[in-house]
């Protein structure tokens, strides 16, 4: 190659309090190519793209665009050098037309008034060159998902972007729309643009990209071209191959079914025509058993958990300890012995501004020792919080500091402790060791195994295959809202899991 790379990232490191999101990341994007960045959720792809788009600054490393080293303080700096980003979640004004949405914030003016005529000419030209079939006067509220995405791309192009970052552009599209998108992207590249797109779908990455960079655990592990690798090899690169063998257990799985999910379907909350978020999901978890749910995040695991908790409307039946939970409130389900370590500890699990002991009380204010006659027994709650802090090795001065004063890993340990100490009979553990260090991970795994040996039924949702195999007695895989496979831990090799998790078929690798 004699031309300078469109984008070069060298030795990027990005830290958040207590977590290293990216380290030692090296990527070279050739101009006029489609460059795919693949990796599991939580691998650090989005963090990296936010660095490139100037949404935050890296601690270390260099960003070189078109041969010039840059330091971005905000997205507008990135836009100035021709980088544009299409976010996964569209940011469009529904009651504006396509034209109005595109020029919003970058309105062309002549004199002191809007120059809509010029905008229309420019946009018509841009849309044609990209091959978009868009009515500029249509209201965005009337557009489908695929067309809205084109409006977003048009917005970026209109601002002069030559390098487009697309964050999981295909996640929201149906297959035909995916094909159209790739035709459009190829046209843009032929016209001189460079496209970087994030994905975790192996087949589409292999089909459309010129180059592929694989990210695992925050760092780049391989740069390949589609011709060099098979889907299986790519899957292995993505999920890693150094998996432990399942640890032998010394207790028996109980006979009784503690949690039964029978044909549960969760529909899209607002769009009736959209495909269900989880479809016809069935499984059972026995006493003393850990059922692992593998899958890339966003494939229906969250919705199934919400259905079990009674937080969303769903079809089908959820049974706890044999009792039908249809029509029961979340509170009633939790008092039946259900417990939940949430997907997102900040959104669903904590009150960051409240002291730790109040955070402990949050899910447990039905326990008699904590509340008598409607009054909170602060002394008892604080004592219990101290016990949990000791038992789960939460690093904190005491139980009165506010939640925000703890590092993410210690917040996680507190939440795990809160739920396990409530002595549940069924535990939904979603990413129980997310963001914690290796030592804490071992502690939490030990706690979960002990609880399992004592008869707890655990539904373990995790994106970490090491965790999945280390803990699970059985594994189901979810993709696109469906349960696509059920495996034993010994069958769950990285390539098999990788293919199930990314929508491929097992036959294709045989």
């Amino acid at each position: 190659m004699d031309t300078a790379p469109a984008v070069e990232l060298i030795g990027i490191e990005k830290r958040f309090p207590g977590v290293i999101a990216n380290h030692d990341v090296n990527i070279t994007v050739r101009p006029k190519t489609i460059h795919a960045i693949i990796g599991e959720n939580g691998a650090g792809k989005s963090t990296l793209m936010k660095t490139l788009y100037g949404m935050h600054r890296p601690e270390k490393g260099r960003v070189i665009v078109d041969g010039v080293e840059r330091e971005f303080h905000s997205p507008s700096d990135a836009i100035d050098v021709g980088i544009g980003m299409v976010h996964q979640h569209f940011m469009l004004a529904e009651n504006f037309t396509v034209l109005e949405n595109v020029i919003l914030g970058a309105e062309p003016v002549s004199g002191r008034s809007l120059d809509l005529k010029k905008a229309r000419e420019d946009l018509t030209f841009l849309a044609e060159s990209a091959g978009f079939d868009l009515d500029l006067d249509a209201y965005v509220s009337d557009l489908g998902v695929g067309q809205r995405q084109r409006v977003e791309i048009l917005k970026v192009l209109y601002r002069g972007a030559k390098i487009l970052i697309l964050d999981e552009p295909t996640a929201v599209l149906v297959p035909q729309e995916v094909d159209e998108l790739f035709v459009n992207l190829r046209r843009l590249v032929d016209d001189g643009a460079t496209v970087i797109f994030i994905s975790h779908k192996l087949d589409e990455v292999l089909a459309v990209s010129d180059d592929i960079t694989v990210i695992r655990r925050g760092t780049t592990v391989a740069s390949v071209t589609p011709g060099e690798v098979t889907q299986t090899q790519l899957g292995e690169l993505m999920v890693g191959d150094a998996l432990p063998s399942a640890e032998p257990r010394h207790t028996e799985i109980g006979a009784e079914v503690r949690l039964e999910v029978d044909s549960v379907t969760v529909r899209h909350p607002t769009d009736e025509t959209a495909k269900p978020l989880a479809f016809d999901v069935s499984f059972a978890v026995h006493a003393g058993e850990i059922l692992g749910v593998a899958g890339v995040e966003g494939n229906g695991q969250f919705e199934v958990c919400q259905a079990i908790l009674g937080l969303v409307e769903s079809d089908g039946v959820v049974r706890l300890d044999g009792r039908d939970m249809v029509g029961q409130s979340t509170r009633e389900r939790l008092s039946t012995g259900l417990s939940y370590i949430p997907f997102d500890r900040h959104d669903e699990g904590m009150m960051l501004e409240a002291p730790l002991w109040e955070n402990l009380l949050l899910t447990r204010d039905d326990e008699e020792r904590f509340v008598k006659n409607g009054f909170v027994n602060q002394r008892a709650v604080r004592a219990a919080t101290r016990t949990t802090i000791d038992r789960f090795d939460v690093m904190t001065p005491d139980e009165t500091v506010p939640g925000y004063a703890l590092s993410g890993g210690n917040q996680q340990k507190l939440l795990v402790g809160r739920e396990l100490d409530s002595e549940p009979s069924v535990l939904i553990a979603a990413h129980p060791t997310r963001g914690v260090d290796v030592g804490a991970q071992a502690t939490i795994w030990g706690n979960l195994r002990d609880a399992r040996d004592a008869g707890l039924a655990v539904l373990l949702i995790t994106a970490d295959l090491e965790e999945l195999i280390a803990l699970s007695d059985r594994i189901i895989v979810m993709f696109d809202g469906y349960v696509t496979a059920e495996l034993s831990p010994s069958e769950a090799t990285p390539d098999v899991l990788g293919v199930h998790m990314t929508g491929g078929r097992v036959e294709s690798i045989a």
Binding site: E353, L362, G374, R379, P397
Partner: protein, 386 residues
Amino acid sequence: MSLVEDPPDATSAPPPPSDDDAAAAMRRRERLEGAVVTAGSSIAAVLIALALSALLLVITGKNPGDVVSTMAEVATTSRFQFETIQRATPFIIAAVAFAIASKMNLFNIGVEGQYLFGMFWAAVAGAYVNLPAVLHVGFILVVGMAAGAFWAGIAGYLKVRLGVSEIISTIMLNAIALQITDWLFNDYFRFDDGSGSLDVRTKPLPSTAWMPDWFDGRLNSFIVIALIVAAGYWVLVNKTRFGFRLRASGLNPIAASTSGISSNRMVLTAMLISGAIAGLAGLQYLLGEAQSYGPARPSGYGFNGLSVALLGRNHPVGIVLAALLWGFLESAAGPLQLDDIPRSIVNVIQGITLLSVVIVNEVVKRWYTRRTTERAAARLGEGGAA
């Protein structure tokens, strides 16, 4: 949002075993310090506001010295001191009504309409029953609370069932309450005593329904009820499970509903309680000075209560102090006018005070959050070394 919800509480921290004594003392010191920071930032904001107001007076050609000396006189004269407390009473109640809703992020701007509605029905119902003294007052309080709760409950119901913002609906309900009470009063409950007096009003309450006056018409015993309301609010919010759930729903609604706290039920309950308390705000006037309802009824308690709650950071002690400040400024308005200082200067001082409070609070909050985090980290470091 308040930084420190709990004032230092001697009863709650039992002496921990021996070597934790130092840690406990440190904790107490930190909590005390938190309270000082909270109070200090409010006082600083008030001082800033006074300085700005003085500047304003200078610019408009008045002598701030006159204002200060008049205010000093008001502050040191006993009848004005009593008047200050009397004027603070409805503000305390209205502020608690506002604060309890805002604990779960509900912005109840409708305290104004709720107290009006409560006062009206309390006046009407109280005049048509005969009960022994204490019971009669109790009956009227209950009617006022029920009417206020009903009026606020409409907004709660609309929010729960139809997702109507309580901000919009309570503003509208304020206007409706004003018109409905006017209409009901004029068409149905105007009392004609046959004297042809122009002083129109509802049927006067019998003397069994009066709250005793304590000082020359300047301090009514209703202040006791206001203080009970403030104390009850503190207990409810900080000591009970309901209060805990209320705060949890305010601090993180998603986490609260994930842990099984029904947000709909909390919204409705919070609005009902808020409205019930608001229904008491007008009753000092009714049971103390007027003994009937009429066009001369007071207005603005709701909006002043909102200001007082903001200034007092939704904390009962803060609310009482802020209400006293507000009451003092209102009491000073009369004497100031005698000095040729316009009454509006009082409103200007109130407005500037609020603005400074909001700004100073935000600045202090950021600083304090950072400091708490750093201090927790530092203490962990010490623990590791020991």
